[in-house]
């Protein structure tokens, strides 16, 4: 059975939590009811106008309960970084593949199931606070299937020495599966941390990953959040990321999308008190028939809050992209600054982008701007570079990389930058050759 009922039928197969708390049961029921009531979004739904999810609705997805995955294969796929790592295989936590050694002090990094089992009340305040069942049909579905995920709590004044690396692996199997992870990040006041959410998959994996993340950035906390999506080009990837920011907090998001058949990201930030700063950097690179949709929202709910957004889209072949960015400034949220920029590069005649910036401003003393451009590579520049001896692929690669540069240059994790560079530019000399140059220059 497919369609809404097909998804609901899977609820019975869902792994029960041991002694499921009643509020979780209630959430799951509310999610299921909501999903049943609204069904999958269609194009009449303004938020989904350009993204057709019927391929998801038509598919039957099972649930899995094992996290078997070859260690060596994982090593070859994951980022080579020194980090506190939690690994989920088709949504199932693998203690074996994870590595949390050395984690000490007022920090906890654990699978959601474990956190619920040990003290579910401590999870209750956060889970669902920013993303209730009514955000979207997929959020409702995620709530209905609440079971697993990651919860990271960073105590007051803790500066994490290493990033927290949340790795989600999607396996290729005979029948596709679905996973509905929930990620909760609590960055305590004055804490500093980097979180990396990384989605990868075996080639040909055609599963549905439907993740909801809720991030709480407390007073004066600094949180850098990478979301690197490198799933297979058959994967369905739906993500909702919700951020709540307190006074003097700084949140910086890198939403980097390279994979997926359909990849949809919703980012919603609530800037709730003065001097909260939110930076949204995004890059999506689609090829073949990939469809990449980014919907971002920043709500300036308080005066003197600041947001800065820069999204770059690169589309080749018959790929399609959607960018929808909302900057909302509440009444009386004076002296707000909100900048938004979206630039898109179409590498083929058949690639398409739909872009819609939206400004909703209800205060009068604000500084806001937005701009969106779509263009092609400058053929004169391609020629000029070839006329210096660079082959065409490298010339185009360098120019494409230059286009992505404004976003990539801000990426402070070299391994992430390198992956994106390689994907975007194809054959290129190593970034580190360039690094050498810069160092030799400065010496």
């Amino acid at each position: 059975m497919t369609g809404v009922q097909g998804f609901l039928d899977q609820l019975g197969a869902r792994k029960q939590l041991d002694a499921e708390p009643s509020w979780i049961a209630a959430r799951r029921q509310a999610g299921a009811a909501r999903f049943e009531a609204v069904g999958f979004p269609n194009r009449k739904n303004e938020e989904w106008k350009y993204t057709d999810v019927s391929a998801i609705a038509k598919q039957q997805f099972a649930l899995t309960d094992n996290a078997d995955f070859d260690r060596a294969q994982l090593d070859a796929m994951m980022l080579e970084i020194d980090a506190y790592r939690m690994v989920f295989v088709d949504g199932v936590f693998s203690a074996e593949l994870s590595s949390l050694e050395g984690l000490e002090g007022d920090v906890s990094v654990e699978p959601l199931s474990q956190a619920l089992a040990s003290n579910h009340e401590a999870v209750g305040g956060a889970l669902g606070r920013l993303n209730n069942v009514d955000f979207s049909a997929f959020s409702a579905l995620n709530a209905a299937f609440t079971a697993e995920g990651a919860i990271v709590r960073i105590g007051r004044r803790v500066a994490l020495d290493k990033p927290v690396y949340l790795l989600f692996v999607s396996r290729k199997q005979d029948a596709p599966v679905m996973t509905h992870p929930r990620v909760i990040i609590e960055a305590g006041s004055q804490s500093e941390a980097t979180i990396i959410e990384h989605y990868i998959g075996e080639e040909g994996a055609a599963n549905l990953t439907n993740v909801v993340s809720e991030l709480f950035v407390e007073k004066a906390a600094h949180l850098v959040h990478y979301k690197l999506q490198e799933a297979s080009t058959q994967e369905f990837h739906i993500a909702s990321v919700h951020i709540e920011q307190a006074r003097d907090s700084h949140y910086r998001s890198f939403n980097l999308n390279l994979g997926g058949s359909i990849a949809r990201n919703d980012l919603v930030a609530e800037l709730n008190d003065e001097n909260a700063v939110c930076d949204y950097y995004g890059l999506f690179f689609g090829r073949g028939r990939q469809h990449m949709d980014n919907h971002t929202k920043v709500h300036h709910n308080a005066p003197r809050t600041y947001s800065n957004e820069n999204y770059k889209g690169i589309l080749d072949d018959r790929a399609r992209g959607v960018f929808n960015g909302l900057v909302h400034i509440k009444r009386d949220a004076q002296q707000v600054r909100g900048y938004q920029n979206n630039a898109n590069l179409l590498l083929s005649d058949r690639a398409e982008i739909d872009t819609k910036p939206e400004l909703l401003i209800y205060a009068d003393d604000v500084l806001c701007s937005h701009g969106t451009t779509t263009g092609q590579l400058d053929e004169r520049a391609v020629f000029a570079m070839r006329a210096r001896g660079l082959d065409e692929a490298m010339a185009r690669g360098l120019l494409t990389l230059a286009f992505a540069g404004e976003v990539l240059d801000s990426v402070n994790e070299p391994n992430i930058a390198l992956r994106v560079e390689r994907a975007v530019a194809g054959k290129l000399p190593d970034r580190f050759n360039l690094q050498d140059l810069v160092e030799a220059q400065d010496a």
Partner: protein, 250 residues
């Protein structure tokens, strides 16, 4: 070095070059002069491999190879480099990166390995100093926001790093102040050697005082109507071009 025979080329169906013959031997410096619209830039573009032009007749041999069969990048790697009349801005691509990628492409074509970074930087700094450009130019995007004169210096800087066998310089003197003219000319002169050649397009005798040509050609309406030594340039400067067509008609 370079042999052009009966070259005809057109753009969008309009014939611009109407039978050019030109031979450049190793070590020679040739200058091409001629009125606006004569086809000087078209000739340079055809030599560099710009695909907007269609060669309808004739041959070009460069170092014994059929140049017209070579891709743009292969021409550059083989040592034929074009200094553009209007250098293109390449936002986001650092000058230093283009230089390094270009030099390595050339080395790779010769079967040599990548140049080590310190050696490369030493070379580039030396050439920068020669062109009286400061180091900050390396970290700037290629030609982006450069003044007209800086763009021309940058073209020569690339030549100095890449050491072409044949440098094609299209109006390298336009937009240069007197000091820049000296620097650019010095740069070009430093390229001169027994086995390197230069083909430069100019409107002014002034450049030729700095870079003395062995041969001067006058190009008019897609043909070389007269060739001679450097005194031809002085003559053109004094008398203009009309006498040449009158001469050829008579």
């Amino acid at each position: 070095m370079l042999e052009i025979k009966d070259l005809h080329a057109s753009i969008d169906g309009t014939e611009i070059l109407k039978g050019i013959n030109l031979t450049i031997n190793p070590g020679e410096v040739h200058a091409i002069m001629g009125p606006n619209g004569a086809g000087k830039s078209t000739l340079s573009a055809v030599l560099a491999g710009n695909e907007g032009y269609e060669v309808t007749q004739g041959t070009i041999t460069f170092e014994g190879e059929d140049l017209l069969e070579m891709a743009v990048e292969d021409r550059a790697r083989a040592g034929l480099l074009m200094g553009f009349q209007y250098p293109v801005e390449i936002p986001g691509v650092k000058n230093v990166y283009l230089l390094k990628a270009a030099l390595n492409a050339q080395r790779e074509a010769r079967g040599e390995g990548e140049i080590p970074a310190p050696e490369f930087m030493k070379l580039v700094r030396e050439k920068l100093a020669y062109m009286k450009m400061d180091n900050s130019f390396l970290q700037r995007a290629v030609n982006e926001g450069f003044s007209g004169g800086e763009k021309k210096r940058n073209e020569i800087l690339q030549m100095l790093v890449l050491q072409p066998k044949l440098a094609l310089l299209d109006e390298i003197d336009s937009g240069l102040d007197i000091d820049a003219m000296k620097v650019v000319s010095q740069g070009v002169n430093s390229l001169r050697s027994e086995d390197r050649s230069i083909l430069m397009v100019t409107h002014y005798q002034r450049l030729l005082n700095h870079i003395e040509p062995d041969v001067v050609h006058i190009l008019m309406d897609g043909r070389v109507v007269k060739s001679g030594d450097k005194t031809l340039a002085t003559e053109v400067e004094d008398r203009g071009y009309d006498w040449l067509t009158e001469g050829s008609v008579a």
